[in-house]
C-alpha cells in the first residue's frame, strides 16, 4: 500500500488503555480528526475520521474484527486498508500507528491529500 510519510513524524498520543477495546478515540490534528481504533485482538489502526461514503464519523462506529461500521449508513470500512467493503465509494486515508512495549501509542500523521470521492 502506498503511504507517504515524508514530512510526518511519530508523536505520542497516549496509552493503549486509554482507547477502549473494540472502540476508538479521536486525535485532533491539523488535517482534521483522526480516529484511532483498538480491535478485539488489541491491534491499533488509525484512519481519517471520515467515512468514504458521506463523511460520517467512523470513530463512533461499532468495531468488529478488523472492521468498523459507519454510524450513518452502516458502511463497513476495513481498518487494514481503509477500503469501504464491497462498495464503490473509495477508501479513507490511513495513518501509521505503533504501540511500544510499555503500551504507549505513537501516531505518524500522513500528509497525503485525501482522494476525492469516487463518483457513485
Amino acid at each position: 500500500m502506498k503511504r507517504s510519510l515524508i514530512g510526518s513524524s511519530w508523536r505520542r498520543i497516549g496509552t493503549l488503555d486509554a482507547i477502549p477495546c473494540r472502540g476508538a478515540r479521536i486525535v485532533e490534528t491539523d488535517r482534521g480528526p483522526v480516529a484511532v481504533f483498538r480491535t478485539g485482538d488489541d491491534q491499533v489502526f488509525a484512519l481519517d475520521d471520515r467515512c468514504p461514503r458521506s463523511g460520517g464519523p467512523l470513530s463512533c462506529g461499532i468495531v468488529h474484527g478488523h472492521q468498523v461500521t459507519c454510524p450513518l449508513h452502516a458502511t463497513e470500512v476495513c481498518l487494514e486498508t481503509g477500503e469501504a467493503i464491497g462498495q464503490r465509494v473509495g477508501r479513507v486515508l490511513q495513518h501509521a500507528v505503533q504501540v511500544t512495549e510499555d503500551r504507549e501509542v505513537y501516531l505518524a500523521v500522513s500528509n497525503e491529500v485525501p482522494r476525492p470521492r469516487a463518483p457513485s
Binding site: 478515540r25 479521536i26 486525535v27 460520517g56 463512533c60 468488529h64 474484527g65 461500521t69 463497513e76
Partner: protein, 438 residues
C-alpha cells in the same frame, strides 16, 4: 429559505407516473412471486434496489450470502425487512430450492435465528458476549455491527442486573444518549411527559438553546422539542444544563419507550370523553426508561376522532364513553400498519396494566430490531389476546415483571453520575498540532 420559484423543467414522466406500474416485492412475498417478478420489481424500498440489480450482482460477483448482496447493492442494509426476499432470490440463483418459511439468521455470523439464540443463552449461561459467541459457534471472533447489539440486549434481558451492559455493542446514539445527524453533530430531546409543557419549561429550554448556540429547534412528530446541531463534546454540558432546569432525557435515541402522544381530552376539547392528557402523562411516568427490542411509541386519544393518531402507534389508546379501547402493533414508518384492536377496558388503572404487560411480552419475545408491528404480525394478534386479555394470571405476572424491572431501568442517563462513567466518549485522546513538538 429554499427557492420554491425555481421549479425544474417538466420531466418527461412525473415521479408518480414512474411508480404507476411498478411492482414492489413485499417483504412477505412468496417464492413464486419473487421468482416470477420482472427485473424492474423493487426489492429494497429503503435504498431503491431492483431485482435485476441484485441478480446481476449475484451472477457477476459470484455472491453467496445476503450480506454480500448488501455490500454490493446496498439492498437489505437499512431496515433489513427485504432480507428474506433477497435470500429467496439468492437461493433461486444458486440453484437451491428456496424455502417459503425460513429461519432468519440473526446476521451472517451464524445460521441461528433470534429465538434459538435466546434459548441457547438460557441453557449455556455465558458470562460475556465473547464467551457466548464461542459457545454458540459464531463464525467471527467478536461478531458484527448487526449481531452485537442484539446479543447485548438478549444477555441483559436474560441476566438483568447481573450482566454488565457492553457499551461497545451499542450504536452511537445509545452510547451518547443523543441522535447523530448527517454532519456528525447531535440532536437532543428532553422528555416532556405527554407532550405537555409550561412557560417556565419553555423559558429554561430557550435559555439553554441560546447558551449552547443550538443551530435549530424543531417540534418532533412525537410532540417533543428537538435541539439540533450540537457538537459531541458539548453533550454532557447541555445535559447538565437541562437536568438543572428539571428535564430528563427524552430517550429519542433509544430502543425504549420514546413518547406518549396525547390530545387535550376532556380537560379542554368539546368532544373529549376521557382525560387522555392525564392518562398519557401517567403512562409515560410508568413506562419511560424501559429497554425494548426496538423503539416504542404510544398515543392516547380522548375520543374516536383520534387526534393523537393512536392507531398507528405501538400501543394506542382511544377513549370511549365507558372506558378505553386498546390497540397494539401499529406503525407509520417504512410500512404503514394500523394497530390491531386488543380489547376494551373499563377502569383507568387497567390501561397501564394491559399496556405494560404487552410491552413486557414484546421485551421477552420480540426479536431485536423488530418493531411491535412486525412482532404482532409474526406471533398473531390472537396469541397476543390470549396472553394479555384471556390469561389474567399471566397478564399480572407480565406486568409485575415489567414493574420490577422498571426499578432498575428508570435511571436518567443524563444525570451526572451516569455521565462521569462515559466521559471518555466525549473528549479527544490527544491534540496534535504542527507547532507543538511532542
Amino acid at each position: 429559505m429554499r427557492q420554491l420559484s425555481k421549479l425544474p423543467a417538466q420531466p418527461k414522466r412525473w415521479p408518480w407516473e414512474a411508480h404507476e406500474h411498478e411492482i414492489v416485492l413485499d417483504p412477505d412475498a412468496t417464492v413464486r412471486e419473487v421468482v416470477s417478478a420482472p427485473g424492474t420489481a423493487r426489492v429494497c424500498t429503503c435504498n431503491d434496489v431492483r431485482k435485476e440489480t441484485i441478480v446481476d450482482a449475484v451472477r457477476s460477483h459470484d455472491l453467496k450470502t445476503v450480506k454480500q448482496i448488501g455490500n454490493h447493492t446496498s439492498a437489505a442494509t437499512a431496515c433489513h425487512s427485504c432480507a428474506r426476499v433477497c435470500k429467496k432470490l439468492l437461493d433461486h440463483e444458486l440453484g437451491r430450492q428456496p424455502k417459503e418459511h425460513q429461519v432468519v439468521p440473526v446476521c451472517s455470523c451464524t445460521d441461528m435465528g433470534h429465538d434459538e439464540v435466546r434459548k441457547k443463552i438460557q441453557i449455556e449461561r455465558p458470562c460475556s458476549l465473547e464467551d457466548m459467541m464461542l459457545r454458540l459457534r459464531w463464525r467471527t471472533a467478536d461478531g458484527c455491527a448487526q449481531c452485537r447489539p442484539a446479543l447485548n440486549y438478549y444477555m441483559s434481558m436474560a441476566f438483568g442486573q447481573k450482566y454488565d451492559d457492553d457499551p461497545r455493542s451499542k450504536v452511537i446514539n445509545e452510547r451518547v444518549h443523543a441522535n447523530i445527524q448527517r454532519d456528525g453533530t447531535y440532536s437532543v430531546v428532553p422528555r416532556m411527559f405527554g407532550g405537555v409543557t409550561t412557560p417556565s419549561q419553555l423559558r429554561a429550554l430557550a435559555e439553554v438553546a441560546e447558551r449552547f448556540e443550538v443551530k435549530a429547534i424543531k417540534i418532533t412528530g412525537g410532540q417533543r422539542i428537538d435541539l439540533l446541531g450540537i457538537r459531541k463534546e458539548l453533550l454532557p454540558a447541555i445535559w447538565g444544563a437541562l437536568n438543572k432546569a428539571g428535564f430528563i432525557s427524552g430517550h429519542a435515541y433509544a430502543k425504549s419507550v420514546r413518547t406518549v402522544k396525547t390530545c387535550v381530552g376532556t380537560e379542554w376539547c368539546r368532544y373529549g370523553v376521557q382525560d387522555s392528557t392525564s392518562m398519557g402523562i401517567d403512562l409515560e411516568h410508568i413506562m419511560w426508561g424501559t429497554r425494548t427490542p426496538h423503539k416504542v411509541k404510544l398515543g392516547v386519544s380522548g375520543c374516536r376522532r383520534n387526534c393523537a393518531e393512536a392507531t398507528i402507534k405501538d400501543v394506542g389508546i382511544v377513549a370511549v364513553d365507558d372506558g378505553w379501547d386498546l390497540y397494539v402493533g401499529g406503525a407509520s414508518g417504512t410500512r404503514v400498519r394500523a394497530a390491531r384492536f386488543l380489547c376494551r377496558v373499563g377502569r383507568d388503572h387497567d390501561v397501564p396494566e394491559y399496556s405494560g404487560a404487552f410491552i413486557q411480552l414484546y421485551r421477552e419475545e420480540g426479536w431485536y430490531g423488530e418493531r411491535t408491528a412486525a412482532f404482532v404480525e409474526r406471533v398473531g394478534i390472537r396469541y397476543v389476546r390470549e396472553r394479555i386479555v384471556k390469561d389474567i394470571a399471566g397478564r399480572n405476572l407480565l406486568f409485575s415483571r415489567f414493574m420490577r424491572n422498571q426499578k432498575h431501568d428508570q435511571v436518567d442517563p443524563w444525570a451526572s453520575a451516569a455521565v462521569d462513567q462515559v466521559q471518555e466518549h466525549f473528549v479527544p485522546l490527544s491534540r496534535l498540532s504542527k507547532d507543538l513538538p511532542s
